[in-house]
């Protein structure tokens, strides 16, 4: 039944705004915590990155030795040709059957012409290639390329995130000084004046206490 005056409505707005302001501050505090966590994660990431670089060098050196040795082997005249060719002719049908079975069961989506393509491939393949583990070397090189691509991709993403986060955390919100003594909030208060009292109005001793 009571009539609420415009001043009282305004005072209620002030009280409500105070609550919202606290919530915004809580959100900002949460952001700062997340910022710290991101900083920690980034430090760990940097450490890991340097380990990765060492491991990459080690791996690439080993890959290079493998490639070089394979080249030398390929350049040397093929030996035991007859034995290998005979075994290869017996190996091919089994290999084709195993591969088609695997492809139909596991790979599912794919070209129905895989059987024909496979036969052609096997006919063109030299048993020498198998003897020197050429397929393993090819897989190794392919993995090597994939890993490089993967790391580049992840690095690219991290640098995009880093740019966005730098902009975000460079905001004045995260760097400003304590407030200067002024109070521009437009509403008056009739219930809790202490809330609006600017800090500089408190005597020093009370602040200390």
């Amino acid at each position: 039944e009571e009539t609420i005056s415009a001043n009282e409505l305004q005072e209620m707005s002030t009280q409500g705004s105070k609550y919202i302001d606290e919530e915004i501050q809580n959100a900002l505090k949460g952001m700062k915590e997340i910022k710290n966590l991101m900083g920690q994660t980034d430090e760990e990431r940097q450490t890991l990155l340097s380990t990765l670089e060492k491991a990459k060098k080690q791996k690439e050196d080993a890959v290079k030795v493998t490639r070089d040795t394979e080249m030398k082997l390929k350049a040397s005249p093929e030996v035991c040709n007859d034995t290998m060719t005979a075994l290869w002719e017996e190996c091919k049908p089994c290999l084709k059957q195993t591969c088609v079975k695997f492809y139909t069961r596991i790979c599912r989506s794919g070209s129905p012409a895989v059987g024909h393509q496979l036969e052609e491939f096997l006919n063109q393949t030299s048993p020498f290639y198998i003897w020197i583990d050429g397929d393993r070397v090819d897989t190794l090189l392919e993995n090597n390329q994939e890993q490089t691509h993967m790391l580049d991709d992840m690095e690219d993403r991290f640098s995009q995130v880093s740019r966005a986060m730098d902009k975000l955390f460079q905001s004045r919100l995260f760097s400003f000084e304590p407030p200067k003594p002024f109070f521009p909030f437009p509403f008056s208060s009739f219930r809790d004046n202490s809330f609006h009292k600017p800090r500089f109005l408190y005597p020093k001793s009370r602040v200390v206490r």
Partner: protein
């Protein structure tokens, strides 16, 4: 430490917060994990995927199954050292080098997975950031100027009819606006007098919850 924004004349609320949501979104898009997950499957699945891909491309993957055929395995056991000892030696060197390279590749793969885990952690922190903060940025988007109150109360009335189940007769109906958003109607139980500070805390909390709900991305 943060301090109430409205005592910062030099901090303009809309200008300050509006870009935040976009920046967080940009960062989240960069960390689009679903795509990366597709690219970087783990364990045996990775091998299977690789074999399938190789088979589709040029059938090379098929040679990985040579171990399942006896005659194919025999090719690997052919000893040609008698006809060319130097080549046999070279082949042995290749086997050793290959083993080493495969071992280092595997180790590198494990490290890459740890690095990927860091990406997941960062991505989850970005989600938290978005959850925790996007509503503030959205509030800023509803703000035309920084001089207005965060929350404005337009009317406070006592409910005289009992038409719905969400409130009771005598409860207080409050119409508020958060910045320039649409007016929202909040109900406060009649037990809490509008003269008590608790009253506006309830109203503001409800208004904020509703704003967050309506603006969830």
């Amino acid at each position: 430490d943060t301090v109430p924004f409205f005592i910062h004349e030099h901090l303009n609320f809309p200008d300050l917060f509006r870009p935040f949501s976009d920046l967080i979104r940009q960062a989240q898009q960069a960390m689009d994990i679903s795509r990366l997950m597709g690219d970087f499957a783990t364990g045996n699945n990775n091998d299977t995927r690789l074999v399938c891909r190789e088979m589709r491309r040029n059938s090379t993957g098929c040679l990985k199954m040579k171990n399942q055929c006896e005659k194919c395995q025999e090719i690997l056991s052919v000893d040609c050292s008698a006809s060319n000892p130097a080549q046999a030696q070279l082949r042995q060197e290749l086997k050793t080098a290959l083993q080493m390279a495969e071992k280092f590749t595997k180790q590198y793969d494990e490290l890459l997975k740890s690095y990927q885990q860091k990406m997941f952690n960062t991505s989850s922190l970005l989600s938290q950031l978005n959850q925790q903060f996007s509503w503030v940025s959205q509030l800023a988007n509803h703000t035309q100027n920084d001089k207005q109150a965060y929350l404005q109360v337009f009317s406070v009335t006592s409910k005289t009819t009992d038409l719905d189940n969400s409130s009771k007769l005598g409860d207080t109906e409050v119409v508020v606006k958060l910045f320039d958003s649409d007016p929202m109607t909040m109900m406060v139980p009649k037990e809490v007098s509008w003269r008590r500070p608790k009253f506006m805390e309830i109203v503001a909390k409800k208004a904020l919850d509703e704003f967050r709900k309506n603006n969830q991305e």
